[in-house]
């Protein structure tokens, strides 16, 4: 199959840039110099355009100029050429920016159309969804298995934490290092930190149980079966307050389980915080950053391991992978379990943050939202997936409402934009798949794959073990 080179409307611009680049750098500049030049140029253009748009609307903003400078420092210099430490510069800079976000969130400038920067509580949600998206990326991006029921893992994580850190099972009275729970309170109360681990492990086990019978199916059948599990889950949660008339209340039905204990240490809880510095939102935010870091770390290590190679091999060509001695079922199940693990932890943490879990949180929509994050960002690339997740969850909780308000007041419309949220996400899925299937920030590998296509003939007759 030939590689189709699409000619775009940007081609003349690209040519001009190349001419300019030769004039500045000479004909035999190395790739690093050329990349730096290109990035510098785009940074200047972005800054200029940004000013052009922002200044007349909101006046000069120091925050905007600072933000631009930070962007330049992060993006332009060829940090990676510094031996050994160079490749850590960008991630560390980005991390410190993220960690200090609560201190400058309120001082940021207003973005046209989108409005203000998200507040810290929204930041927690964004990070939780980033964690789920990175987890799903292991399944979809690495192993190439379309999972449309990822929300099931989120639900299991949430309910695990809810059961063991609330008064749901009030006839029990088990306390195990909970934070700030009086020992007279009925119900099971276990430390959230332990529960997060438990949620991850339990969810991974459920992932294996779901995966074993289903992962032998072809890709599209797997998609529909996972969708089925994802649909069954909220129904079980909704009807689980009285299982078939037995009177056993597992999930408290449509009312959900609330309140759920907050994380903390001893008598110190996140919910109460400590002074004006350790506010609850900040504590949850920083912990969420740690959890995302943990997820990213594991995900990167897995990608570069024997297992990661096997996943990619399966995605590319199942038959050839099996002929190389890769046990298909077992390897796929591991991908499923690993993805489920992070989904479970994220779900559990989110439940503790919201101090509640409801059946309505786990509809098919959410599975698609998380899938959309993975696809928009770029399947297989952790950084892309993270950006996709942060952006879409921001849209989900603040951005769309802001945008809608802006549209209505400036164009004289009267549209309830957030109502059409999932139509918009559907549109994103279609547009990305049609015009940029590798996503906004693709992994080099995936990009190559969408250009040539892959052997994707499933192994029909073999019984994979």
């Amino acid at each position: 199959m030939a590689i189709r080179r699409r000619t775009g409307f940007l081609d003349p611009v690209r040519e001009r840039v190349e001419v300019l680049e030769r004039r500045v750098l000479g004909d035999d500049a190395g790739p690093v110099a050329r990349r730096t030049f290109n990035r510098g140029l785009s940074a200047v253009i972005v800054g200029f355009l940004g000013m052009l748009i922002l200044a007349p609307l909101y006046g000069f903003s120091v925050a905007a100029i600072l933000a631009w400078l930070v962007f330049v420092v992060l993006y332009v210099p060829p940090w990676e050429v510094i031996p050994r430490v160079g490749r850590f510069v960008r991630p560390l800079l980005a991390l410190s920016l993220a960690a200090t976000y609560p201190f400058y969130a309120l001082n940021m400038f207003t973005i046209p159309i989108f409005g203000a920067f998200p507040d810290v509580a929204t930041g927690v949600k964004m990070l939780v969804f980033a964690m789920m998206a990175i987890g799903l990326n292991i399944v979809v991006g690495y192993a190439g298995l379309l999972d449309l029921g990822y929300v099931a893992f989120y639900a299991i994580g949430s309910y695990t934490v809810a059961w063991f850190a609330s008064i749901q099972f009030a006839h029990q009275n088990i306390h195990f290092w909970p934070a700030g729970v009086p020992s007279s309170l009925p119900g099971i109360h276990i430390s959230i930190w332990l529960l997060l681990a438990l949620a991850g492990i339990l969810t991974a086990i459920v992932g294996v149980i779901i995966g074993l019978p289903t992962l032998r199916l072809r890709g599209d059948y797997l998609a529909i079966v996972t969708l089925g599990f994802g649909e069954i889950m909220p129904q079980v949660a909704r009807n689980g307050d009285d299982f078939f008339g037995t009177g056993f209340n597992l999930t408290n039905g449509p009312n959900g389980i609330t309140p759920i204990d907050s994380p903390g240490f001893g008598s110190f809880t996140f919910l109460a915080g400590h002074g004006s510095f350790f506010t609850p939102d900040r504590l949850f935010f920083w912990t969420a950053i740690l959890l995302v870091l943990f997820t990213v770390f594991c995900s990167l290590r897995l990608r570069d391991s024997r297992l990661g190679r096997a996943w990619i091999a399966i995605r590319e060509d199942e038959t050839a992978a099996a002929a190389m001695g890769v046990p298909l079922m077992r390897t796929k199940t591991w991908a499923y379990a690993a993805g489920a693990f992070f989904g479970g932890i994220a779900g559990g943490y989110y439940a503790s943050f919201k101090s509640a879990t409801f059946p309505g949180d786990f509809f098919f929509n959410i599975s698609v939202l998380i899938l959309c994050m993975v696809i928009l960002g770029g399947m297989g690339n952790i950084w892309g997936v993270m950006v996709g997740a942060l952006f879409l969850e921001y849209l989900d909780s603040e951005g769309l409402a802001n945008t809608g308000a802006w549209l209505n007041s400036n164009l004289g419309l009267n549209i309830d934009v957030p109502k059409y949220e999932f139509g918009i996400f559907g549109l994103i899925l279609v547009v990305v798949m049609l015009f940029r299937p590798q996503g906004l920030i693709p992994s080099a590998r995936r990009k190559a794959e969408f250009e040539v296509g892959v052997h994707d003939e499933p192994l029909y007759n073999a019984t994979h073990g």
Binding site: E316, A320, M324, V326, P327, V452
Partner: protein
């Protein structure tokens, strides 16, 4: 000499169609055996049963005295059977080195937790695997190729060679080559034939070859088996096969119309 692999009354039906009809077949240890026959004679189906891609309808496949018929492909691979594919099936967007590393999957031990922790054992294992993979690339004539190049960017001949390197990475005792010289020019074919002979000499491999190019078959095979319509119609040394009436008839009869 003992038989490395023995197929007994091996049969495969698709619906009502008999693709391989109760074939008895042996590969003695240390030999190069070729499987020839007109298109659609059931060679590739037979091959796919030996490698576990298809489950035989009936019959036995005995490898080292163990019945492996119907076992999944990875289980057969783990017992020392390496293969290449008729239409090259590399992992296109993995690098040359990574392709070989996937071939080492069964030899490496790293599990999910060790991989995340990257224990010293895993570090050492990965390092050694890379050294070994580079050796295999060199051995297969890919010493000059950039190991970080995506497989799909390699030349056709190099892709064929990489497939062999990848198959060698599983440390097979039996190597199955499915039309390895298809699409090669005479020069490349000649080189490849020499390479196959070297494989047997240097690595003490037993080789089963499906091949259309008679010069290759007659040049290096110890034994030739001929399939037609899913049946084994002849078996013998290259010289015997060249004189066999039924073989000539099969090739001129159905081969002329099928070509």
């Amino acid at each position: 000499m003992a038989d490395l692999l023995r197929a007994e009354l091996l049969r495969k039906e698709f619906g009502g169609l008999v693709a391989v009809d109760d074939v008895d077949f042996t590969i003695p240890t240390g030999t190069i055996v070729s499987l020839i026959g007109p298109n659609g004679a059931g060679k590739t189906t037979f091959f796919n049963m030996l490698t576990g891609v298809y489950k035989p309808t009936s019959g036995k496949i005995i490898l080292h005295g163990e019945q492996v018929g119907g076992k999944p492909p990875h289980a057969i691979t783990q017992r020392g059977v390496g293969r290449t594919f008729q239409n090259i099936r590399l992992f296109q967007t993995m690098t040359a080195l990574e392709n070989v590393l996937v071939g080492m999957h069964t030899q490496l031990k790293g599990g999910i937790v060790q991989s995340i922790l990257k224990t010293p054992k895993i570090r050492r294992e990965e390092r050694e695997a890379r050294v070994h993979a580079r050796e295999l690339l060199r051995f297969s004539g890919l010493g000059d190729v950039d190991e970080e190049e995506y497989a799909r960017n390699l030349s056709y001949g190099d892709q064929r060679r990489l497939e062999v390197a990848r198959a060698l990475a599983i440390e097979p005792k039996l190597l199955l080559l499915d039309e390895p010289t298809a699409g090669m020019n005479p020069q490349e074919t000649l080189e490849f034939t020499a390479f196959v002979a070297k494989l047997r000499a240097d690595r003490e491999l037993t080789i089963l070859l499906i091949e259309h190019d008679m010069r290759v078959v007659m040049g290096i095979s110890d034994r030739v088996t001929v399939f037609d319509y899913g049946e084994k119609i002849a078996e013998g040394t290259p010289a015997e096969i060249q004189k066999n009436e039924r073989v000539i008839e099969a090739y001129l009869g159905s081969g002329a119309t099928a070509a």
